[in-house]
Assembly symmetry: C2
Homo-oligomer: 243 residues x 2
């Protein structure tokens, strides 16, 4: 009887570990998609542009795997307390990660449409934004893999700067479009690239919130810190972006 | 003992019904947000523009309520088979609905920034897109409330036309921007409005997929039908939008 119980616990732990592993693998994949997509845009690298979309099917397959295993765990093992919260968080995080992969692919598909801007455009704000978003995503995925609530809280309060960089880039792009109508097409693609990067940052924040809740049982406040006072003022203007 | 069991089953059913009710209320709210946001843009109605963002806190509160009740149900009632799939679907759908509300609010916040275009812009493609997306969202929410797999499958295969209208509108807006640099600001807002509408349509499709799975236990194919041949050709061009 004791052996039987021990055996059951071990398989249960293995299954939990396996679910965690699937979500961690998804995290690693979408991090790579994001890195390649950003590199494709800022270095105008055509090969890198092909990699992110090529990984989509693998990410989708892992999301389904996570869902099937998560539901089986809930049904057969009836996990309690923090295990239960972890399983629910894993199900939700796999959805976030799938979206991140989608946004990265969308960025990659736009990468080579930006070329007509040529050397005139520095990509410096985009580079900075890309670095920050990648870092936040990486730390969110790490917090998830290590069930680290403290790191999760750090990620959650870190994306103020991303919002500010987005506003800077938005204004820069509008200026380019006004200067020369031939810039309009490529600049629109860059606007969507920036918006998609911002949304990847939002999902990193969501993941951090879910990790924090799964580990501690407490929810972070529904209003996370967004933008500095400077960013708020900028967003009040008529010609800046909004969401 | 029999009474006790009957009593338990009843409370369990009540809790399931209550979870379903929370998600249905969320659905009704975000439908209203979407309708008001579209009306705000196409009729340039400032009052309507204020309503969608004002409903955000209520939507967020319902999402948290759904999560807490869903987890309690999983923990204390250990639902099986279709009940279990329903609970998991409800948790995921509440996430989709929260995003829909976000997109609607973003549309509403841009509504009055479009004014400088004045009477020159017809909003006809946007109106058509808005109608379709609202209809798909409404039917997805109904399919969810009625656990109607057949209706869910219909919604899932219905958003081809949304993609085509988006492409039409994208081209129209680029033309406006090229004609007069003063149109650039308002047109960018309209581009994001159109993109956000398209994403609301995507979430309606996600909801339909989850309803279908919850009811039948089968997943719809991972590749849903997207765009007609015409839309695909259009998207291959350099000056059109991509994701």
């Amino acid at each position: 009887m004791v052996n039987e119980a021990a055996h059951t616990i071990t398989r249960y732990d293995q299954e939990l570990e396996s679910l965690r592993g699937i979500v961690a693998r998804m995290g690693g994949l979408v991090e790579r998609q994001t890195a390649q997509a950003i590199a494709a845009v800022v270095n105008q690298n055509e090969e890198a542009a092909l990699e992110a979309p090529a990984l989509d099917p693998e990410v989708d397959a892992l999301e389904r795997e996570a869902e099937i295993l998560g539901i089986r765990l809930l049904a057969l093992r009836a996990p309690m307390a923090s295990d239960l919260r972890m399983v629910v968080a894993a199900l939700k995080m796999s959805g976030d990660l799938e979206r991140v992969g989608d946004y990265a692919s969308s960025i990659a598909r736009r990468a080579m449409k930006v070329e007509p801007l040529g050397g005139a455009f520095s990509f410096s704000a985009l580079r900075a934004m890309g670095r920050l978003v990648q870092e936040n995503l990486h730390r969110a995925v790490e917090a998830m893999a290590d069930s680290d609530a403290e790191r999760a809280r750090e990620v959650w309060s870190a994306d103020t700067v991303v919002d500010e960089l987005y506003t800077t880039m938005f204004r820069e792009l509008v200026t380019y479009m006004m200067e020369d109508p031939r810039n309009i097409g490529p600049c629109i693609h860059l606007l969507f690239v920036a918006k998609n990067l911002e949304r990847i940052g939002d999902h990193a924040t969501n993941i951090a919130e879910r990790v924090y809740y799964a580990v501690t049982g407490d929810m972070l406040p529904s209003e996370r810190p967004r933008g500095g006072e400077a960013a708020k003022d900028a967003n009040a203007g008529d010609d800046t972006d909004e969401d």
